[in-house]
Symmetry: C2
Subunit: 376 residues, 2 copies
């Protein structure tokens, strides 16, 4: 067997395939307290606020680490120690916010729906009506456990009507799906460098209402994850308090320029939607069945039911596709045996077509005839 | 004026100048849950334990973020909630551990000496003798506030004799100064990717006693910074719990190979010692006075007194050196007005000589005659 050693396409929820020019931005070392780097940092923050429709009332606070670090920092900084959080859960990332609250010892309740079911805004309204102690609501924009698009705008309207505050985990959606933090409204939105902006992993960021952030002093449980302290220091000298991932920030700066060149959220989201449509129709033609109906499917990552055919073995399927240059993703569902294929990153319909051809060939080699979740 | 747009040398405590081959390792995207990346991750962890003399009883837990994230994770995971920490302070990084304990609401006392004075092991012994509640001691290996080398081995011996546990912040020293975690002994040692191993910034790591780590469940205050939980997950599937900075990890893997090629700690430390000697003798010849006597100076970063000559302006000096390709570092001392020049990173004596020439020319251009801290 010839092992192909070219770089595979990453059909995952991230880290993703990025452009060569984005990676090449990492070929330089930057002094983290030098004027040249400070300017890059300033531009990154300004662009992110603009992308989120933030305007004057919002700011952007970067944080080292993965998306979870940003979400934990957001919850810890914006939920007061005597606050109470309503967490809307329909997958692993909702559960993760509950776990964060357990660590933080903050009060919370959950409203959980099945992994293929979005939260009902009317139910959120009823919960808020029934519990005056709830001060904040957290929602996952696109829950990558299933790939479901949650009704952020509808929930935001209910939360605002009830005079509570909204925190949005937009990790896998930000940059590809329109969101306007001021119009929603929300207090804070968390995302990371290595999703739809197509940068390298290593930093998260929270776009948030400056006034609320300024009042959040003393809320955080952690020096490293205190967004209020980070923002307060950055306002003074435009520097990160602690060593930033300089190369990752420089790559993200380049990725943001390429995002703008592609037409911003509309352009980026348009390409992902085409990827998603071609993927789903191609997979259906191969006999696979997606978990979600089209109306609930975000153009980020698609969950497919695992074939029942006994000759199908996911690890073999995964390995053979990886050998052919396509890295797919295991499932995370609790309700059904499944696997996932991402539509995001620097990939287009040619790549999706290539992946579909590789899957067709692999299934034939494996002798998998029955590709749906149940016998036809 | 011609603006030089080549990349300057970073004579700082990090991020540092790294090799081109280390940066080139970031030109590929890795699936964070793919076998190829998992193998890189495994090799990085094994090499780090070996570098620290850890042996079978120790493991290495990586953590996303800067060095401070790793130190906070170490303190939070290894200091039980009912423990008490003695913090040895002679600079900003000692104070930072106290600040971390304030956030964590853990009990602590400090033993502070001046920034140019190492802690006295006999005094540590007396403090431990007088306070049975102290369970752990934290020490900074090289305090980059001044560049002082602290007596880690002597303090470790006292801590062991008194049956307390030691936590070491070896951020700026690890990889250049010999340290043997098993022989010291210590429970845990924290460092990061972008110091003496010469990788890119974006990850820290803690080398620690596996048995102690396994017993540390429930200590941490933060999901993201819980080393016990990260280790426990990594033992199961060799993966990071949350998205790792894949490019930074790949660069670090390459940097570790280059560290070994240079002769490991002895080779790397030897080059830094030569850099340091040439820097100090050259600066003395220019009229500058280092803060520390040779016996206390670690070969990492050197603090110099600010010249008293009224024609000296640090920002002008800094900017003109940066234009010539040398980024130096501001001072952080509270006891004296100072600035710092680093000896670490992918630089050798030729670079140091170049920096000295640039400084000589700049001082002449600025008309700075009196370069010591006081009139001769």
């Amino acid at each position: 067997m010839v092992t192909k050693n070219y770089e595979p396409f990453l059909l995952t929820p991230g880290p993703l395939t990025t452009s060569l020019t984005t990676k090449q931005a990492m070929l330089r070392d930057w002094g983290s307290r030098d004027a040249a780097f400070i300017q890059i940092n300033r531009e990154v923050r300004d662009r992110l606020v603009a992308l989120a429709g933030g305007g004057e009332a919002f700011t952007c606070v970067p944080v080292q680490g993965s998306g979870t670090f940003a979400v934990e920092a957001m919850v810890a900084t914006f939920l007061p120690r005597d606050g109470k959080l309503l967490i809307l859960i329909n997958g692993a990332y909702g559960h993760r916010i509950a776990k964060i609250c357990d660590y933080l010892d903050r009060d919370y309740v959950t409203y959980e729906t099945a992994e293929n079911t979005p939260p009902d805004p009317a139910e959120v309204d009823a919960i808020l009506d029934g519990d005056a102690a709830i001060s904040h609501v957290a929602i996952i924009h696109c829950e990558t456990t299933s790939g479901i698009l949650n009704p952020v705008a509808e929930v935001a309207a209910v939360v605002a009507k009830r005079n509570r505050r909204l925190l949005v985990d937009s990790m896998s959606a930000f940059g590809a799906l329109e969101i306007d933090v001021a119009a929603l409204p929300c207090d804070a939105l968390a995302a990371s460098s290595n999703k739809c902006i197509e940068g390298a992993p290593g930093m998260g960021f929270v776009i948030c209402r400056t006034e609320t952030l300024a009042a959040a002093k003393g809320n955080a449980h952690s020096l490293s994850l205190d967004l209020q302290d980070q923002w307060s220091a950055m306002e003074k000298n435009a520097q990160w308090r602690f060593t930033p991932p300089t190369h990752v920030v420089a790559a993200f700066h380049q990725a943001l320029a390429e995002h703008a060149d592609e037409g911003g959220v509309a352009g980026r989201g348009g390409r992902y939607r085409r990827n998603c449509e071609i993927l789903i129709s191609g997979m259906k033609a191969l006999g696979f069945e997606p978990l979600l109906p089209a109306a609930l499917q975000a153009p980020i990552i698609v969950t497919f039911h695992m074939p029942v055919d006994p000759s199908f073995d996911f690890q073999v399927f995964y390995d053979r596709l990886a050998e052919q240059g396509y890295v797919i993703y295991p499932g995370k569902l609790t309700v059904a045996d499944s696997f996932r294929i991402g539509c995001i990153g620097r990939i287009d319909e040619t790549v999706i077509q290539g992946a579909l051809s590789a899957m067709e060939k692999t299934l034939e080699d494996m002798g998998v005839r029955q590709r749906g979740p149940a016998a036809a």
